[in-house]
Symmetry: none
Subunit: 236 residues, 2 copies
C-alpha cells in the first residue's frame, strides 16, 4: 500500500498551514513534515483554519532540512509553478500524470515550497521528479494550499474511482425496468424511443434507489396505458 | 467552445471569496455570479486574497436568486459534500467524471453553497446534476475554496474527452422533455420518480437524436395518460 507524505518547505502563512492540515484530513494523509516553518505549528490561527483536521496537528513533524523530510521515501515529487522545457531541473510531469508514475507501495513525498519563492534550485535537485499544475493560462501561480489540494486529490485518492451513489442498480431490477419500458413502448408503437430511453438510462448507471423508483414509475405508466387502451376499446 | 460560470450561493467568508477569484484567474474563468453574499465583494480582505486575480473583481456579478445566476446555462452542476445513495436529490456524479458529461459548447454553471450549510434542497433541485468530491475518507467536507479549486481543475482544463455521440441535446429540447416528465409524473403522483428520471437522463447526457426521440415519447405518454384520465372521469 502506498502512503503519502506531505512535505512543506519554509511555509510562511498560518492560514495556509491550517487549510493544508484540513486537506490532509480530508484525503486521509497522516504524514506531514514541515521544514523550518515561519511560525509555530500550534498557533491558534492554524488550528482555526484546520477545522475538522485540527486534531492531526500534534502529528505534524518539524525538521530543519528537506533531506530529513525525504528520508525513507520511495519517490519524491517537488512541485513548482515555474516550469521550463529548457532547464533540466524544471522539466515537469503534469499533475494529472503523476498518478501513473506512482509506486505501488512505500512512501511518496509531495514537496511544496514557500508561498513567496517556491523551492530553491538546490531543493528541486533533491527530488526524483518535478511536477506542475498546468492551468493553461497566463497566471498559473496558485495559492499554496490550493495546489496542495489538487495534488492530494490526484494522488491520495488514486484508488477511489467510483460513482458516489451507493449501490448500483441490480441487474434483475434493470431487466424488470427494461421489460416495462419495452411493453409501454410497444403500446405507443415507438421502438426507436424505447432504445434511446434504455441506452440513456444504462449510461446514467442508476443507483439501486433510483432504479427502484424508475421501475415503479414505468410499471405505473405501462399499467395506466394498457388500462386506458382497454377502456378506449370498450368505448368503440 | 464551452464556458464556465462559477456560481457561489450565500458565500460567508471574505478569504474564501478572494481565494476563489484567484483560482478563477488561475484557470481562466471570467464569469462569476454570486447569490446574496454576506459581505461586499469589494472588501479589501477579498482583494488581498485574490492576489493576481484582484483585477477580475469588478467583473463579479451579484444577484439575489440562484435562478438569475443559472439563466442561460446549458448544464448546471450543484456541488455537495453530503451525498446519498437513497435520496434521489443527492445522487452524485463524482468530480472526476464531470468532464465526461460536459456539453461541447455553451455555458456550464458550477454551483457552490454556503460554507456552513451548503445548498438547500430547493437550490439542489434547480440544478441538472449534483456532484461530489469523493475523498474516500470519513471527513469529506472540504473548505469551499479548495472544492472550487478541484472543480476548476477538473472542468476548466478538461481536454474535451467526451462521449462519441455527436451533437448533444439542446437546452430547449431538454427543458421541453423535463416539462413532459413533470406533467405525467404529477398525473401519476410520483414526484420522487420524476426527480430520479430527470437526474438519470441528465447524467446520461443524451445526444440530439436521443433526446428528440425521448421528448416525443414522454409527450405521447403524457398525452395518453391525460386522455385516459378524462375518459375514466367521464365513465365515473
Amino acid at each position: 500500500m502506498l502512503k503519502i507524505r506531505l512535505v512543506l518547505v519554509g511555509i510562511e502563512g498560518k492560514i495556509n498551514m491550517g487549510f493544508i492540515v484540513r486537506l490532509a484530513e480530508n484525503f486521509g494523509v497522516e504524514d506531514i513534515c514541515v521544514v523550518s516553518p515561519e511560525f509555530s505549528i500550534d498557533d491558534p490561527e492554524v488550528r482555526e483554519f484546520a477545522a475538522g483536521g485540527a486534531k492531526a496537528l500534534s502529528r505534524v513533524r518539524v525538521e530543519d532540512s528537506l533531506s530529513n523530510c525525504l528520508s525513507g521515501a520511495s519517490l519524491s515529487i517537488c512541485t513548482t509553478a515555474k516550469t521550463s522545457g529548457e532547464d533540466v531541473l524544471r522539466i515537469s510531469v503534469p499533475s494529472d500524470m503523476v498518478k501513473y508514475i506512482l509506486p505501488e507501495s512505500g512512501i511518496v513525498a509531495l514537496v511544496f515550497g514557500r508561498e513567496s519563492v517556491g523551492l530553491t534550485r538546490e531543493e528541486l535537485s533533491k527530488c526524483d521528479v518535478v511536477s506542475t499544475i498546468d492551468t493553461g493560462t497566463e497566471y498559473p501561480t496558485m495559492n499554496l494550499s490550493h495546489a496542495v489540494g489538487i495534488y492530494l486529490y490526484e494522488v491520495a485518492r488514486a484508488d477511489h474511482r467510483r460513482l458516489t451513489i451507493g449501490d448500483y442498480c441490480p441487474r434483475n431490477v434493470m431487466d424488470a425496468m427494461y421489460r416495462e419500458i419495452n411493453s409501454f413502448c410497444a403500446d405507443l408503437a415507438d421502438e426507436r424511443a424505447c432504445i434511446a430511453l434504455k441506452r440513456a438510462l444504462a449510461r446514467a448507471r442508476p443507483s439501486k434507489s433510483e432504479c427502484g423508483a424508475l421501475y415503479k414509475l414505468f410499471k405505473k405508466v405501462r399499467h395506466r396505458l394498457s388500462e386506458c387502451s382497454q377502456i378506449m376499446f370498450v368505448d368503440d
